[in-house]
Subunit: 243 residues, 2 copies
Amino acid sequence: MNDTIDLMMRHRSIRQFTDEPVSEDHVQQAVAAGQMASTSAAIQSYCVIRVQDMERRKTLVGLTGDQTKVARCGAFFVICGDVRRHRLIGQRDGMPYDTQCEAFLLAVVDATLFAQNMVLAFESMGYGICYIGGLRNNLADVSALLSMPEGLYPLFGLCVGRPAQDPMIRPRLPQQSVLFDDAYPDDDAMLAEIEAYDATMLDYFRQRGAGDRTWSVETASKFQQPRRVDIGPYYRRQGANLD
Amino acid sequence: MNDTIDLMMRHRSIRQFTDEPVSEDHVQQAVAAGQMASTSAAIQSYCVIRVQDMERRKTLVGLTGDQTKVARCGAFFVICGDVRRHRLIGQRDGMPYDTQCEAFLLAVVDATLFAQNMVLAFESMGYGICYIGGLRNNLADVSALLSMPEGLYPLFGLCVGRPAQDPMIRPRLPQQSVLFDDAYPDDDAMLAEIEAYDATMLDYFRQRGAGDRTWSVETASKFQQPRRVDIGPYYRRQGANLD
């Protein structure tokens, strides 16, 4: 195993940070590494807004579901799909911009590839990170707070900082329930894998002192009720086509 | 700069490969590294189908826009968002599964984080890679070819193999047009950055012997016409809610 794979295998999200700030040089290195990720035909349909202003950081704590780490981490970033640049060029050069579902998907994928490189760069420099999906709790407010024009699609937040905790690594699904050859497996085979994983996760939760919980129940319960139902309408207002 | 950042900074897509296959051990290491990427609340809504069967690989060449590398690379993977597992658990346990735009977005982000770790793991072992967005040219056919049930969202392909070429690294947008503090910049500032980048890319294209081209024109022309207009309807048929 080489250093890069070893780094990835040791990943766990960090939710408590020391007071040490993230240096400007490290931010620049991480963003540069992010930019070197693949991007569909070089369109680079992403950007990142670093929230430096502490008042805005505090407001974001509330907007993301009272996640105090958003204010307490060394640096907080908002990762966005960005087709604004493409639209500006089109306007300037008299070329029409056709919104299309494909363009939205490209922006989400591009932005996520960028973010994961950034994350690994930070982790390789000894920082801990936590993605903040709670950013999507209140996208309209987030976007007003950070002056996001049409063509910007804020996707998730990212806390970065020096770790002040050392949590256990969380076991993943067995590899044979994620990697398949030539065809997706049948339902019974998949359910058997999930049962084995539930047993693993029961141990994990008990070791963490989190009681008797299984992955199945935890996961299924997340999808019983509609969540964040305004994200589709919000992205459409920002100019996305999801048809 | 450490080894991981150095690896990312040297990335360029590889489109020509030697005949050397990708070893089973390396595939397992890369998928394991992929699985250690962050996943929203551990839902792990992704899977990867490796296409081993050469007849299917040849069919995929046609389906992805005559990309011969899909058959010629050492290993070809299809990265999918996967909420099938979540739906199966719900069915088994009598818990309803509420399709929601949020669930689709989570699957796309989860799958992309997974894929980028996989990619970096392969690159760290000396392989070259190329993502294949052309997979979305014919999603219905791809999904029939690889027996993808409802709940699977094929997103992009991935060619992996030993590089048989050494292409130039493609310059990215200037960092100041990707990283912002507290607010998105105004249009004039952005257009000035794009003009500087166009000059850089003109040099790059000339050095590659690709003639006089700019990023602006290349990029704007991609979004003039609707592309892959059936992906929205396809993902809906697979059970996604994009409303």
